[in-house]
Subunit: 317 residues, 4 copies
């Protein structure tokens, strides 16, 4: 894959957590180990400074520091996408420029919360694409549960047509299965470029989405190796095996899917796996109590048991 | 004006309250006096069973009873528009049929709450227009503060083009001044039918809206005579005089504009004016306390004082 | 179990669909077969006229007709809970009275959408409990994703204390696991009555909720037999077996969990199982397309395969 | 008034705009002239970096630069309150410390958007008050239309009781008249400290709020001299004269009240008054078109005419 994000992107572009120390400071050591972990699990890309990366709780200085640390660690082995969503166009532009200069492969952009109509949403992206310039590949993040913005199929198609730098859709409308099919079908019917579609929502519907035309996942589940293998199995034409594997992890994945506390569960799981040193989420944010920790432990134990009993056991652990 | 609502509608199509007795039963005697009052103030139409008519708190039987009572009292002197918004298409159809059979001039239809994209909103109206039939004139109610649905200019124009029976827009987006201008300008630029636009939001921006191309008001301010005169003065080419009159009532109008409690204030004002016997709002609903009542009294007293001192004093009281 | 709903309720109180014919009319024949089906699967109660029962799209007449049909079919074998949520207190009262007279075991009540503060929500239930009377057992439905109303633990405890007729909580806040634990712990710490807690959200977190103190489920998954057995296994002190069984159904359950289209998937599944004659959802509502139907078929086929291969195969099919 | 904000604050604490040049850079020259203007109009305080100050579109560096510039210009003549609302506790703390060190009189704090229950909202303020320390006077901003958070009377009273540093309420719930009365009455009934209450919402209900116990206004209407005089007249025991003056400005004030575009109208009015050099709002933000500008001009002309004809003419212009 070349340096820039493009329409051929597939597999797992993992949504990276942002590790903090116990007292809430950026943990750059864990940043390195986390980055190494993701690469070892076989991800084909890394997305940093997204919502689950607690981007809104970082200062601009911290964002740049973290971004440069990850890019230095990745050394171009996989593309790194940088979340640049912000209330101000100037900020989006500045962060995007910094990212691209530092070697990012592209930027991810969610709309600001108060956009309502098709026209407003289209204009938002058209305007920002002009601010950012044609050389900056854009991943459109469609996550209405968090932004409150409902980006229609018509808007997505219009933007694919108008913006050559729009190369990827992070699909996480919910429910969103039909929408994904419509984007693929209507795009093909109109002879538009086929862009990359990676799915979010913790991967809750990943197999169904792969069957409907997704190219992979862009989410942060604490067992990226499963996402990677599921995508690989789909690509190898083995959808049933992919879904069999997926189903083994589904109970835990569904648990981590919980909005809000899911981030704390994800970080705690990564900590237990030895990937980061602290599971701290910046305040205000979810804090796990004894019951939460026990419950997570039970679900992990059940997962390990099922994995061991499965045909995948050897492959995975 | 003929029996059916059409694109030429203008002036004040008053949003009628639904009078209840002190214990919350439909008050048909007050329904008659209220209807007479509206007609005496010179309204050019009456809209019943809208949101401010507490339609969602009436049984279907009560709705039909009230509707027939008003229609019988009006005797065709002005068009009566019936609100038919409902969660079920079947219900909309049934209520609309009943209304038209009973002599209504048309129906008012707001979208159900969960519509998000331009396509979804358009399809909602296109589908229902087919259910209702070409003979039923429709007033599209655009009131996002209450419905959560944002109907774009593009959607409005598409519906004007596709649906000959769409003859009126109740404009109450907020802020909505530019939207009103855009509907008028883009509609003209595309050579579409010029539909009637009546404005809501309690009339808070009536003069600015008339200057931008509105044809009148569809709201329920407890002093309809002001709305009627303001519209008449605009039609007579006297915008400054219209705005002078409007400004005298603005303090009270702004008070009644308050969402929720505004309905209780409106009914209490109508009660004080001798138009209905009880100011009761169906439960759960706002109930005025001593401070509210005193405050309303002060604002009414101030209005009367200013009216007396104004050039409009003689004309109005 | 006696005639009235009480705090000992447990197991599965199934949320009943409302069957329609292909053209959207109430299907009373399917109502009978559906009721029989639920009873055969071993549910310990039936809840009708809830949100998933499309209550807001029924006329009052239809609601009464359907309610009486179900009650007549059940013949007191299990308690029937009737959803009575409505914008008007008078309507809630009238429907509740009708239900109790016809032999319902209690009513389920969700708050109206515009309640915001703890005090407003408490007062809503306190007022309505007085309207309904002490003899009407109430199930409080806590479903903020649909109502927009966030009922705090403090409010729930206050209502348990103040209202002896509040005997059940339908817990479907999301994420809501900690909330469930807090209700149980704080209620016990304060020496309050232990009410029944049945969980919703399609059962997506049922095992975790059972471990945290839930008494069962009140949801409408199209395979009630699984819910029944999971609850029974928990009651028999076999949580791991319960969760093993649950996990087999989780892929399909998660699919049906999708808000909106989930109802269409549920009805279609019931239709395929021969329980109702038509999967029609009243308009406006979701309609499955070819891809949706194929996808559902695949998931059902996968479920059947996994069931056959499991230790539960014999027990269940 | 001493250096720190306290419960005796009254009159007008103007919400300052943040001036930008035509190309969107901070305009420090206009910052000086704007500050001078506010002081000349007799404000008793200045609030900077609030929502209408476009705080979310400034970098931290710009925020500090602007803050220091205003503080240097004010030279302690009136208290300066600094908005510090942010998604991260650390950021709130850091900005608050910087502000207090630079000579601010206190900080204004709105809740983060996802707080729902009384307990969550209380805990948010209790936690942050501890982070900030007892020496930092806090103004609680209650603005649910923008934050989505509904802070109940019970929560406000609880916080007044628990937090000596909570000295002021910026009241802008809407409708909010009864809430204001309840805070005053219940606070007195429970013998709590009487804190300062300044009202927002553009001042749309200022006279009614003063009659109900407000101490003044904290809003940014482009004619601060009116707000100052209205508050002074109320303090002088002349409520009717105060309201007479208010009513003259009401048509323009209501126009500026429009959410979103109101900020552009306010900045344009300040520009026309010669107070700032550019009316630029940072992108994405409202931009006035020809019709908007003409309309604003008409409303200003009408205001000037009415002022000239009034008894206030000489006093004001």
């Amino acid at each position: 894959m070349n340096n820039k994000l493009n329409e051929q992107a597939n597999g797992v572009c993992i949504i990276s957590a942002t590790p903090f120390t116990d007292n809430g400071e950026l943990d750059l050591v864990s940043t390195d180990t986390l980055t190494d972990f993701y690469l070892q699990q076989g991800v084909s890309g890394i997305t940093i400074l997204g919502m689950m990366g607690e981007a809104s709780k970082l200062t601009e200085e911290e964002s740049l520091l973290f971004m440069r640390r990850v890019l230095a660690r990745v050394k171009g082995r996989v593309p790194v996408v940088v979340g640049v969503s912000h209330a101000s166009h100037q900020h989006v532009k500045r962060l995007s420029d910094s990212a691209m200069e530092a070697g990012a492969a592209g930027v991810m952009l969610a709309p600001i919360p108060n956009l309502k109509t098709d026209e407003q949403i289209s204009q938002y992206y058209l305007t920002l694409a002009e601010w950012l310039g044609r050389d900056v590949p854009i991943c459109l993040q469609d996550f209405p549960q968090s932004t409150g913005v409902h980006t229609s199929v018509a808007v997505i198609l219009r933007l694919i047509e108008a913006l050559p730098q729009l190369v990827m859709l992070k699909h996480e409308d919910l429910p969103g299965l039909r929408k994904l099919s419509q984007v693929r079908e209507q795009s093909a019917a109109r002879g538009l470029r086929r862009i990359s579609i990676l799915v979010g929502n913790g991967g809750l519907f990943l197999p169904q989405e792969m069957r409907r035309g997704a190219d992979g996942a862009m989410t942060g589940f604490a067992y990226p190796e499963m996402l990677v293998q599921v995508c690989a199995l789909f690509q190898a034409g083995k959808p049933e095996a992919a879904e069999d594997l997926f189903d083994i992890y589904l109970p835990l994945l569904r648990h981590e899917f919980q909005f809000g506390i899911g981030l704390a569960l994800r970080k705690e799981t990564l900590r237990r796996r030895g990937v980061i040193r602290s599971a701290t989420v910046r305040q205000p944010g979810p804090v796990l109590d004894g019951t939460d920790l026990r419950e997570l432990g039970q679900l992990i134990a059940r997962l390990e048991l099922r994995l061991r009993d499965s045909e995948f056991g050897a492959v995975i652990s």
